[in-house]
């Protein structure tokens, strides 16, 4: 039989097919990413305890009323962009004088040493042993385990930080967002933005100093990395930054 030539497939409509697909993707997808501030809600408590006394110097209250006017620490604030500067001041004023008693209106810093951390871990381990031997309720033992985890976190952080001392802001230092029911969401979001900006700046500076990378890079790596050991490494770094500059934000439920 004679060799028959195979006719070429007509690819003229390929462009049409591709256009069709392209238009489909253009219509069903969007460029903008979903971006948000992630916050945790405190656990619901059944037993109401007496409120803990918190020193005035440890509280940074940011308030907004129903007319969307701002007040930071009792003073009227006209420029919402300045809140982050105030948050920075709140963190940094006494940072240099860690371990000393300073007479001003900002939270104090303390230092913890390697030996103190080790002593605490040993103490808690002994307590857990004693409680387990005595058959204490499980929730009390769990509470001790949580404490132990906190101290171990600090131990890891200090190792990463270098030296033998870890400066720590007062454990009660917190930022409060107090809005009213009618306050616009944009104001609420603005306060969150300003706090986030200040915290980012502080942690970023520390990350640059310690490892020469930006805080944003660390966070992205932690979120997108698949390698387990690498994730752990990045997590440790983030933990240290969180211990140095904890973001304790209290969102106060509005009453009116």
């Amino acid at each position: 039989m004679a060799k028959r030539e195979i006719p070429e497939i007509n690819a003229g409509s390929m462009a049409d097919i591709a256009f069709l697909l392209l238009i489909f993707f253009l219509v069903t997808t969007t460029m903008d990413k979903d971006q948000a501030y992630i916050r945790s809600i405190p656990k619901k408590i059944e037993v109401k305890n007496d409120p803990v006394e918190v020193q005035k110097r440890d509280i940074l209250a940011i308030k907004a009323n129903s007319q969307n006017q701002l007040m930071v620490r009792g003073e009227v604030f006209n420029d919402p962009d300045k809140i982050s500067d105030f948050v920075l001041k709140f963190y940094q004023t006494n940072q240099k004088s860690a371990g000393q008693l300073v007479m001003n209106d900002f939270p104090l810093y303390s230092v913890i040493t390697t030996s103190q951390i080790e002593a605490n871990i040993d103490k808690i381990l002994d307590e857990i042993d004693a409680m387990e031997a005595a058959g204490s309720p499980q929730d009390q033992i769990d509470f001790k385990y949580n404490q132990l985890a906190e101290w171990e976190k600090k131990q890891r952080a200090l190792k990463l930080y270098g030296g033998s001392q870890l400066p720590e802001i007062s454990f009660q230092a917190n930022m409060r967002i107090e809005v009213m029911q009618a306050t616009a969401y944009s104001i609420f979001a603005k306060i969150q933005t300003e706090i986030e900006e200040a915290i980012y700046e502080l942690r970023d500076k520390e990350a640059q100093r310690l490892w020469g990378v930006s805080y944003g890079t660390l966070k992205r790596k932690e979120a997108n990395e698949n390698d387990k050991t690498k994730v752990k490494e990045e997590k440790g770094k983030l933990e240290l930054l969180e211990i140095l500059y904890p973001a304790r934000i209290i969102e106060v439920t509005p009453k009116n």
Binding site: D34, R39, A184, F188, A189, T193, R220
Partner: protein, 170 residues
């Protein structure tokens, strides 16, 4: 006496379109990579406030660890009057019924629970860590956000996210 012979009328050659599919495919792949699929258009109109340093939720979205709820003005103006201050809550495109003319945030708890039960098996995070992202309009009253927050607290879904439009790092 010309050296050049005058040729007959020349027809312009057609443009070669054989690389057109390649160009279009290139565009197609660009859009496939650079964009994410759109959520259903919510039945409420949300104009988000701007912010900076916000967390990108894409990795959480890929792991289906985030649920979105919308808080804005109803697109149907006839319905807007039924809501206090003109804002309504949209859960999966269902604008919540408002028997007493107020918002009904009571549905949030049940909605979140149902969502959590429907998650794919590969999602292993406990409900405490599954993010609930509130996409609220600029002018939405904050009191409503706190109502939602309370509902979430009741069912122990303890991670909330406040959405903003972040123009700083695109």
């Amino acid at each position: 006496m010309s050296k050049f012979k005058k040729e007959g009328r020349k027809s312009t050659p057609g443009v070669n379109t054989s690389s057109l599919p390649d160009i279009v495919f290139m565009l197609l792949f660009f859009f496939m990579v650079a964009t994410t699929s759109k959520e259903n258009d919510p039945t409420v109109q949300v104009e988000q406030p701007t912010g900076t340093r916000a967390m990108d939720l894409t990795p959480f979205k890929q792991r289906s660890e985030v649920d979105f709820l919308y808080l804005g003005k109803p697109r149907n103006p006839a319905r807007a009057e039924a809501f206090k201050m003109g804002y309504a809550l949209s859960l999966d495109n269902v604008v919540q019924p408002t028997p007493d003319g107020l918002y009904n945030t009571n549905a949030v708890g049940q909605w979140k629970k149902d969502k959590f039960d429907q998650k794919p098996a590969r999602m292993t995070s406990p409900i405490e860590l599954v993010i609930t992202c509130v996409k609220a309009d600029k002018g939405a009253p904050s009191g409503l956000i706190f109502d939602i927050r309370k509902e979430l607290q009741n069912i122990n879904a303890l991670t909330i996210a406040y959405a903003v439009r972040d123009n700083s790092n695109i």
